[in-house]
């Protein structure tokens, strides 16, 4: 569950998750899609009113800010936190710590409770992740060494395989010698430091800075390459259902007898990452967070790489392209994966045929997207070329996207709808919004009668227990399920 302050002593009267009144029922929605799809929106019938709607800028109320994006500082922290047995030591104030611990713990839970008394060492501040040096004004003047030594002593005793000290933006300005302090304080545990993650850099640059540092630290020797094996690059903690996305791709590629060695920063242990040089091919699933590392590994190890040419494997067309591209590169047989996709399409056909016959939908319904380009591109293609839906507004998040922004623009131009890329999602009338929880909530605030489908962070905090994913045939069916349930009365 995502509650930044639920599992710590609150900063200012924040309600712990556990203290929510028990008289309040848990989320009444059956699925995340239903939560945001109140009946009474745009009337639907065999001729949906939405067909007549032309998206145009909405007037009020005034919203000054779109949902913010995490930057390179967060990217670096989440890269290390995505390694199962690694720990970030944040050399910085608690103001930078609480958020990152809460998100890491939500996305990759490794503790079985929220009780602050379970994490009572001072540097943990009642949270299970991201111990910090709790810097204050004095430390910026006199240096952080005493506190860092104190924290490293605690953390070094916890049995982590890797300790990474990461400076907060403020600490990065005072230039403490982190490597020397680490060397003096940490004995046998592997360790590294990141003195500056960059200021206001994009998330992917920080993520890859940290991953590349881990790779350098491991200094893996040349080894025998396993044929038909890959590493998956770019999957990370800031993605919705990132863990199940990873498992889905492992399963899908296993159908093609392709082994996935590891995915950096996506739940694997350091031991698994040390096998990375055995991979015959690096597959950049998400260029925003993986392309730079792929280039590095090509330069350092000579491992070839491919960028998923249709974007992240979302939507049947992109999934097939993804599998085909990899199997062709490795000389493997894609038929097993293709058959699985075909079966999913068959399931979709039954439901779509019935739905369409009753409502004429989803064709002609409007959708909006706020996402990374490598998601927005395959998603838009699937929505417009498979479901026949009309884009209303698309916003692309920052980061090096491997050219997907331009490809999306070209695709929109081919639909004669290029201007949707300049429309704000939060204020453009639409029927389905694929976005993060903040954007979906803002659409609600602006009075848009839409169904919100979460594909990014921050989340609306729905607690996922059953397996859900965006990738692969099941991920696409999950999206379809949400569209069809959400669109019916919008």
């Amino acid at each position: 569950m995502q509650n930044f302050t639920a599992n710590t002593e609150p900063e200012q009267a924040v309600e712990p998750e556990a203290t929510a009144p028990r008289s309040v029922a848990p989320g009444s929605a059956d699925t995340p899609s239903a939560l945001d799809c109140a009946p009474g929106a745009i009337a639907t019938a065999t001729a949906p009113a939405a067909h007549a709607v032309t998206p145009a800028a909405h007037a009020s109320p005034v919203v000054y800010t779109a949902s913010t994006e995490p930057d390179s500082f967060t990217g670096a922290i989440f890269a290390i936190e995505g390694i199962a047995d690694a720990a970030v030591v944040l050399n910085g104030p608690t103001g930078c710590k609480f958020y990152h611990s809460a998100i890491s713990d939500t996305q990759f839970p490794r503790a079985v409770d929220y009780d602050p008394l379970s994490f009572s060492e001072r540097c943990f501040f009642g949270q299970p992740r991201v111990p910090a040096t709790y810097l204050d004004g004095d430390d910026y003047i006199f240096g952080s060494a005493p506190k860092l030594e104190e924290v490293l002593e605690v953390v070094d005793s916890k049995g982590y395989s890797l300790i990474a000290v990461i400076n907060s933006p403020g600490a990065a300005l005072i230039g403490d010698d982190l490597d020397r302090l680490l060397g003096d304080s940490v004995s046998s545990t592997r360790h590294l430091s990141i003195e500056s993650t960059g200021f206001s850099g994009d998330y992917g640059s920080g993520f890859q800075t940290a991953i590349n540092k881990v790779i350098d630290l491991l200094d893996l020797p040349e080894t025998e390459v396993r044929p038909k094996s890959v590493n998956l690059l770019g999957i990370n903690l800031d993605q919705k259902y990132y863990d199940n996305n990873y498992y889905t791709l492992r399963e899908l590629l296993a159908l093609c007898e392709i082994e996935v060695i590891t995915a950096f920063g996506a739940t694997d242990t350091l031991d698994k990452i040390t096998l990375a040089r055995q991979a015959a091919l690096n597959v950049v699933v998400c260029p925003e967070t993986g392309l730079d590392t792929a280039r590095k590994l090509y330069s350092d190890w000579g491992t070839p790489y491919i960028v998923a040419e249709s974007g992240q494997p979302i939507g049947f067309e992109a999934i097939v392209a993804f599998v085909t591209q990899i199997t062709e590169a490795l000389g493997a047989d894609a038929s097993g994966a293709h058959e699985t996709v075909d079966k999913a399409r068959a399931r979709a056909y039954l439901q779509l045929s019935r739905y369409s016959s009753l409502l004429g939908l989803p064709k002609g319904a409007f959708y909006s997207i706020r996402a990374a380009a490598s998601i927005a591109y395959p998603l838009a293609r699937w929505l417009s070329s498979y479901l026949g839906m009309i884009p209303a507004a698309i916003e692309i998040l920052s980061g090096e996207d491997g050219g997907f922004s331009e490809r999306l623009r070209a695709y929109m131009a081919s639909l004669q709808l290029e201007d949707v890329l300049s429309r704000p999602v939060a204020t453009t009338p639409t029927q389905v919004v694929f976005a993060d929880g903040d954007t979906i909530a803002t659409c609600k605030l602006m009075g848009l009668q839409t169904c919100g489908i979460e594909i990014g962070f921050p989340s609306l905090n729905y607690l996922d227990i059953t397996r859900k994913q965006l990738y692969g045939p099941e991920g696409t069916l999950f999206l379809l399920e949400q569209v069809m349930n959400g669109l019916r009365y919008v």
């Binding site: 930044f4 900063e11 309600e15 989320g27 939560l35 800010t65 608690t94 004095d138 960059g198």
Partner: protein, 751 residues
């Protein structure tokens, strides 16, 4: 008069500064010299070799409410008061940040009001970063003197100092001139003269090499004191006289690096001529301006009145962590931002890297997202908080962030907010961003209000909350308004607490029944005009009587004549009854209170009668961060429970635990330093029937009823009895938690 003496380290800057101070003081002036160099030896010659405790060492060990200016000042030769900034060891920390902190502390202590005729800052000029540039900001030194020798790096540093000055320059000059400290190198006098000519500044004095300096050093005294009859002493007295006589000031006109290197430092006309060296036996009298061509008016005649300060003009409220020097929970930036965004028609600009705005934004929106999920409702201010980030990047960290900040302010103004708050982050504070002039950007439509939290450099989250409240009050509340008896303010709600909306509804219901009307929520989902009208309320109600609430109450009483109810918004039957009676008495309709209380009394007593057979004699154990829990203890006693154990955990936000039931509590631990293991031991020993806490232990407690207590509970008559009813239901139903037996399965399959 405030004087900054700048120069490259190691060229005799402190020696000259100490002699100027001594000369000023020997002429009857009251002088303070502040050394702004981490090696803290600026005042050594004034103090006979002694050193005052440095300001930075002092504040490391002293809580802000204990600061005394006398602790960091020693008096030396001729009565010169001496202070030293101090700083970190070489190679670690940030000395520039230390200078910022020192000035901030001296300012808070009101050093400028201590009757000094002259305050002289002796500042290292090698690096003119934001910290070391503090003395040349407009609000500090009104005249700046630059010491240089003829050496390349010294002149280079002098030019850099002029660049720093130019960045803070308005239309008035502040440079008094150059003091040439001769080192005896070839052509140095010509070189310095060429530099002075090029930057159009006079050389006020040429100080020769002289053994008198060494002799004075050995005596640990300055020349003016040790050799008062010497030519050098005479020269220093003349120089001091010139400085103190409101001599002309000049604009800073630094050279480009190219010009400096080619035309000044590597001039081909230099030839080896020993006669060009300075004659050590004949110090030159302070010169008049020979090349300066741009004298400007006396600063006293042109100085503009101080504008609104980014820190409070009254004594700042201090958080618990600041007072007790505790580890900081959260940052002041985030705290102030959380307060500022409560004004729905204003925009807050986060001056810092994107991560600062992102973290704060997500913390604010987290509860609204969950509200949408669970209840389908949208909380406007917490769904789209009006936050804009300046996204400080590497370039800004090096060269300063004024330009992107001004761009953001101008862009924000296009949205016509009533006010723009500029709230600074750690990086902004560390590089010394100066927000003090931002109020000048206010116009008829929009007030620009800086809140210089500097991330957590000024304190924790609560400190930021208090700063936000205080500055917003000072800048917005209209002091001329007259209170109206029927209007009520609610003060210090918790915007991100689950209970806030329901609590407001409770208060409004009671207000309605008593003929009262809500005026301003200070500050929760409020607006500029609502805050402005704060003083229209005849009565104020405190939402919570915790540390923050009480601090704010005291501040508003003292500074805005605010009248408060004795009790905060009430939790539980007893407090609610008393609160309603007090409010009804204020509203001059005491009979209405009886009707309201009667409605609830019947309900409450019926529940007590129903629950007592189940709960009577049952043992209650409480382990909580909450410091106000009498409401639930009262209910427990009403239903006949035994208060077996009450432990109050250390909490960063409060330390005001008090109870009227101490006599009924078997084990009372008002300040519990606890661990999960100790709690488990205590649970086994106490063997409670009900364990109440903010978080519950993971282990299987058998038949113990576990329940959680909200940090911000629901107000009203029935808060306690609803909780007791839940305990009774759980006891009666003999429920099981079979999942707790699956810990082994978890270890087997997931661990």
């Amino acid at each position: 008069m405030q004087i900054a003496i700048y120069g490259k380290g190691g060229i005799g800057k402190s020696t000259i500064a100490a002699n100027i101070s001594a000369a000023l003081a020997s002429g009857g002036k009251r002088v303070l010299q502040v050394g702004c160099d981490p090696k803290h030896d600026s005042t050594r010659l004034l103090l006979g070799g002694r050193s005052p405790q440095t300001v930075l060492d002092y504040i490391r060990v002293t809580s802000p409410d204990k600061y005394r200016v006398s602790d960091v000042i020693m008096t030396g030769e001729f009565g010169v008061d001496c202070a030293e900034s101090g700083g970190p060891e070489p190679g670690i920390g940030c000395a520039g940040r230390g200078i910022l902190t020192t000035f901030d502390m001296l300012e808070k202590l009101g050093i400028r009001n201590h009757g000094y005729d002259a305050i002289l800052y002796d500042v290292l000029g090698d690096v003119v970063c934001g910290g070391f540039a503090v003395p040349i900001r407009n609000e500090y030194a009104d005249r700046v003197y630059i010491i240089t020798s003829g050496e390349f790096m010294s002149i280079y540093a002098a030019n850099n100092i002029l660049r720093g000055l130019a960045n803070y320059q308005t239309n008035r000059g502040r440079v008094g001139g150059i003091i040439f400290n001769a080192r005896g190198g070839d052509y140095e006098q010509q070189r310095v003269q060429r530099f002075a000519d090029a930057v159009q500044l006079p050389i006020l004095a040429t100080i020769p090499r002289d053994d008198i300096f060494a002799a004075s050093e050995r005596a640990k005294r300055c020349v003016v004191a040790e050799f008062p009859q010497s030519d050098l002493a005479t020269m220093f007295r003349t120089l001091a006289q010139q400085i103190s006589s409101d001599s002309e000031l000049y604009l800073a006109q630094p050279l480009t690096d190219e010009h400096l290197e080619q035309r000044i430092l590597e001039d081909s006309s230099e030839t080896h001529n020993i006669n060009n060296n300075v004659d050590k036996t004949s110090p030159s009298a302070p010169a008049t301006a020979t090349a300066a061509t741009t004298p400007v008016t006396n600063p006293a005649a042109t100085v503009t009145p101080a504008t609104a300060s980014p820190t409070s003009t009254t004594n700042p409220l201090l958080s618990k962590a600041m007072v007790y020097k505790e580890p900081l929970h959260g940052c002041a930036f985030s705290g102030a931002l959380g307060v500022a965004i409560q004004l729905t028609d204003c925009i807050s600009i986060a001056h810092g890297p994107a991560s600062c705005a992102h973290i704060a934004f997500q913390a604010i929106t987290s509860i609204s997202r969950r509200m949408l999920l669970e209840r389908g409702t949208v909380i406007p201010i917490q769904t789209a908080p009006p936050i804009v980030s300046t996204d400080m990047n590497e370039t800004v960290m090096i060269f300063g962030g004024a330009e992107p900040l001004l761009q953001r302010i101008e862009a924000a103004k296009q949205k016509n907010p009533r006010a723009i708050f500029v709230i600074s982050t750690c990086p902004s504070g560390i590089i010394g961003e100066d927000l003090s002039s931002l109020p000048e950007l206010s116009d008829g439509n929009t007030q620009v209000i800086p809140i210089a939290t500097d991330g957590n450099l000024t304190g924790d989250n609560l400190q930021g909350v208090l700063m936000g409240y205080q500055l917003i009050a000072e800048q917005i509340i209209d002091r001329s308004l007259t209170p109206e008896s029927k209007l009520i303010n609610i003060v210090a709600e918790k915007p991100i607490a689950n209970a806030t909306a329901g609590n407001l509804q409770f208060a409004n219901d009671i207000f309605d029944r008593l003929g009262l009307k809500l005026n301003c929520r200070f500050l929760c989902e409020s607006s500029y005009d609502k805050v402005r009208s704060f003083k229209k309320a005849g009565l104020n109600v405190l939402a919570y009587a915790d540390y923050m609430g009480e601090a704010l109450k005291s501040y508003l009483e003292q500074n805005y004549d605010a009248v408060f109810m004795n009790k905060p918004m009430p939790i539980g039957f007893a407090d609610s009854s008393e609160w309603v009676r007090d409010l009804a008495e204020y509203a001059e309709c005491p009979e209405a209170a009886d009707a309201i209380i009667a409605d609830y009394q019947q309900l409450y007593q019926a529940e007590v009668a129903r629950l007592r057979p189940i709960l009577e004699g049952k043992r209650l154990m409480v382990v909580t961060f909450n410091h106000s829990i009498d409401w639930i203890l009262s209910t427990a006693l009403d239903v006949g429970m035994e208060l077996s154990f009450v432990g109050i955990l250390d909490y960063s936000q409060d330390h005001r635990f008090n109870t009227s039931h101490a006599g009924s509590i078997r084990e009372l631990h008002p300040s519990l330093d606890y661990s999960a293991v100790r709690r488990s031991d205590d649970v086994r020993r106490v063997a409670p029937d009900v364990l109440l806490g903010n978080y519950l232990p993971r282990e299987d407690m058998g038949n113990i009823v576990n329940d959680t207590i909200q940090l911000c509970p629901d107000v009203g008559f029935l808060s306690g009895i609803k909780m007791a009813a839940r305990w009774a239901e759980m006891m009666r139903a003999d429920l099981g938690e079979g999942w707790r037996r699956d810990a082994e399965l978890y270890s087997k399959y997931r661990a």
